[in-house]
């Protein structure tokens, strides 16, 4: 395997590395599918093919295709591979991923409406640097409209927390 000649300090992960890592993860998933199919039986049972019959081959195909991808990735020398992400891009992506993950966690504890208000307000303040007045108006109006639409109009209950209980919903 050849070393990459160019070292761009902006790049964090090369496309080649990302390709190999994703293929390895897929191989792991494929192996899970194959082992569980073997447990269920991949042969012929009383009712025809056993439960593992079909998934076994899908798992096997994932493994073979991903091995092939790794092979192709490592053999492809000299061509421009480029970078999967740069440092700046990772920061941008994490700026949306981390708040979203916190938001998803919060939903379970304080309900989706309050969590949405906090999430939208936090995002607007942190990323958008809006004035507080704009933030308050948007972050209260959106959950309120959603509440009207789902709880009142469509009668689809969404996860609620202590605040909604307090208000009698």
């Amino acid at each position: 395997m050849q070393q990459d000649e160019e070292s761009n300090d902006n790049g964090l992960v090369s496309t080649r590395a990302a390709d190999v890592v994703v293929a390895l993860i897929l191989i792991g998933l494929g192996a899970l599918v194959v082992t569980d199919s073997l447990r269920l039986g991949i042969g012929w049972g009383e009712y025809g093919p056993k439960s593992g019959y079909f998934p076994f081959y899908t798992g096997l195909a994932i493994i073979l295709a991903s091995l092939g991808t790794i092979g192709v990735t490592l053999l492809r020398r000299g061509k421009a591979h480029g970078y999967f992400v740069s440092r700046g891009q990772v920061v941008h992506v994490l700026k949306v991923f981390v708040p979203s993950a916190v938001y998803v966690l919060l939903i379970g504890f304080i309900g989706i409406y309050v969590a949405s208000a906090i999430f939208i307000a936090g995002f607007m303040r942190w990323i958008g640097r809006f004035r507080w007045l704009t933030i308050i108006v948007v972050s209260l109006a959106v959950p309120f409209c959603l509440f009207l639409m789902f709880e009142i109009w469509f009668k689809v209950p969404l996860p609620k927390g202590p605040l909604e209980n307090l208000l009698g919903y």
């Binding site: 990302a18 390709d19 994703v22 897929l26 998933l29 494929g30 899970l32 599918v33 569980d36 199919s37 269920l40 012929w44 049972g45 009712y47 025809g48 093919p49 056993k50 439960s51 593992g52 019959y53 079909f54 998934p55 899908t58 195909a61 994932i62 295709a65 991903s66 991808t69 192709v72 999967f84 992400v85 891009q89 941008h92 992506v93 700026k95 949306v96 991923f97 979203s100 993950a101 938001y103 998803v104 939903i107 989706i112 949405s116 999430f119 939208i120 995002f123 607007m124 990323i127 958008g128 809006f130 948007v138 959106v142 959950p143 959603l146 789902f150 469509f154 689809v156 209950p157 969404l158």
Partner: protein, 504 residues
């Protein structure tokens, strides 16, 4: 002639004013979804699907399919005014649409785009009206082996027609099948790949996957690029519209070619995106002004838009007649049919004629309604795009979370959505196609049970796939599609060595 009678009965279904109202709601929502980043046709339909469970299936499918038409129209708005394709199939529209907007001809470009979209859709609906009943009655004779063969052909076509690396297409598709197998085996009742995790009993719902892959993944991609929407103003008035309509008939050949390419790519699951590129390429090659393409040539807007809309519409033909969706959005609609208790496939035409013909009739009216809605409301939607992304992004994440939750009323699904979002982001960046994954997830159980039933019929011998001329020709075509990338590469290498020979 019978098709015409059924179609007239279908228009009768639309006589219900509620259905017309749902149609307009659907179109408007669809354009909005098509305009906003992170909300596309497939994802938008997936989020709204749970809200329609209580509706009558005919009304529900009319509304959802109108969302789809609306999204097809909406993609053109962002491409032309902002140089940001709202949908993958409108990438080719940016090539000439945005330069036109820069030259102050935005109104002309938008009118051309919408009108061509409309023409493409109309062409595809007419094809669908007359071809669908024929295909359906033909498919009534299909047994499990034939059904599996058709599904095999669908999946192999992704490998053969897709522009992504074939190995990655296979991996992505098989991952979809594996995810579809998670949960209780419908035949034996055994638990598969749940690893003692009770929540996985019912498996992964494809709606969660679609919302995560297309919604959250798209938001992360948009965020990564750092956001700056610099839009052109959208001035569109009746005079511009009429002037553009006066010159459009000149490009009838480009339109017709685009519509045919679109229908072909929509029925075989090539999809709207490659269809739009192919049509653009053909128009560039055959046009007298081909060298002007990319600098604001109206023909360069007409070609991809006609093809994309024709493909998007004709993708419903295999979905209705064979139960095989031609695009991710059609796959989500198919999932909806299953949830409403309708079995997609040829029997649908026999058992639910109201539903089928109501839907087909709604395609005619829906596209006319769509054309009117987009021509009159472009400035509103352009204004929505000027809202800063730091407001839009959290709202879209919120809507996606609600959409994921309402599928099964399960909190865990929202976390799965987030994980699928990361997968969607990584897959997009590494050129793993998402459409085969979604299609495999939707069709997985059906394909598996067809395969098993075929195996039971033949006592476990694969020879059943060669037992008659129909099934063997479908299987043969499927294998050809699967091997096509390897064959093409081999052929190219052969040609290269041949051309090198005289030099040596």
């Amino acid at each position: 002639m019978e098709a015409l009678h059924s179609l007239i009965a279908g228009f009768g279904v639309l006589g219900d004013p509620m259905n017309i109202m749902y149609m307009f709601i659907g179109i408007t929502l669809g354009v909005l979804i098509g305009v906003l980043p992170g909300l596309g046709g497939a994802n938008g339909v997936a989020i709204l699907l749970p809200l329609t469970f209580s509706m009558h299936p005919t009304s529900a499918i009319i509304m959802l399919s109108c969302i789809y038409w609306g999204a097809l129209f909406g993609g053109a708005i962002t491409s032309i005014l902002f140089n940001i394709p709202g949908e993958p199939w409108s990438v080719a529209t940016t090539f000439d649409g945005y330069p036109m907007a820069q030259q102050g001809r935005a109104g002309e470009a938008l009118t051309a785009a919408f009108t061509s979209s409309f023409f493409g859709a109309l062409f595809a609906v007419i094809i669908l009206t007359f071809l669908a009943p024929v295909v359906a009655s033909f498919a009534l004779e299909f047994g499990p082996a034939e059904l599996f063969a058709v599904q095999l052909l669908t999946f192999c076509s992704f490998v053969g027609l897709g522009k992504e690396p074939p190995l990655k297409t296979i991996a992505s598709m098989m991952l979809g099948f594996a995810l579809a197998a998670v949960g209780q085996d419908p035949t034996t009742g055994q638990l598969r790949m749940t690893f003692g995790w009770y929540e996985l009993l019912h498996g992964f719902n494809f709606l969660i996957a679609v919302i995560g892959l297309f919604g959250i993944g798209e938001i992360m991609l948009t965020m990564e690029e750092g956001l700056a929407f610099k839009g052109r103003s959208a001035k569109i008035n009746p005079r511009v519209v009429l002037q553009t309509w006066a010159i459009l008939p000149r490009y009838w050949m480009t339109s017709l070619r685009g519509a045919i390419v679109g229908c072909w790519m929509g029925i075989t699951p090539g999809g709207a995106t490659p269809a739009s590129f192919m049509s653009y390429g053909l128009a560039k090659r055959f046009s007298k002004r081909g060298e002007n393409f990319g600098r604001g040539e109206i023909e360069g807007v007409v070609a991809p838009e006609t093809a994309a809309h024709a493909a998007g519409t004709s993708a419903l033909l295999p979905m209705l007649t064979l139960g095989i969706p031609g695009s991710p959005t059609a796959a989500v609609l198919l999932g909806g049919l299953l949830i409403w208790g309708l079995e997609p496939g040829p029997m649908l035409f026999v058992e639910q004629p109201d539903f089928v013909w109501g839907l087909i009739a709604s395609m005619y009216i829906g596209n006319i309604a769509g054309l009117i809605v987009v021509l009159t409301t472009v400035p509103v939607f352009a204004a929505i795009l000027r809202i800063p992304f730091s407001i839009i992004a959290p709202i879209i994440v919120t809507i996606c979370a609600i959409g994921a939750y309402t599928v099964n009323n399960a909190l865990l699904d929202i976390s799965f959505m987030l994980i699928f979002g990361v997968v969607g982001y990584a897959f997009k960046k590494l050129h793993y196609p998402l459409a085969p994954l979604v299609l495999a997830l939707v069709l997985g159980d059906m394909a598996e049970s067809n395969f098993r039933n075929a195996m039971i019929l033949s006592d476990g011998s694969l020879s059943i796939f060669w037992s008659n001329s129909l099934v063997s020709s479908i299987c043969g075509l499927a294998i050809f599609m699967l091997l096509w990338p390897a064959l093409a590469a081999g052929f190219q290498r052969l040609r290269r060595t041949m051309s090198h020979l005289p030099a040596q």
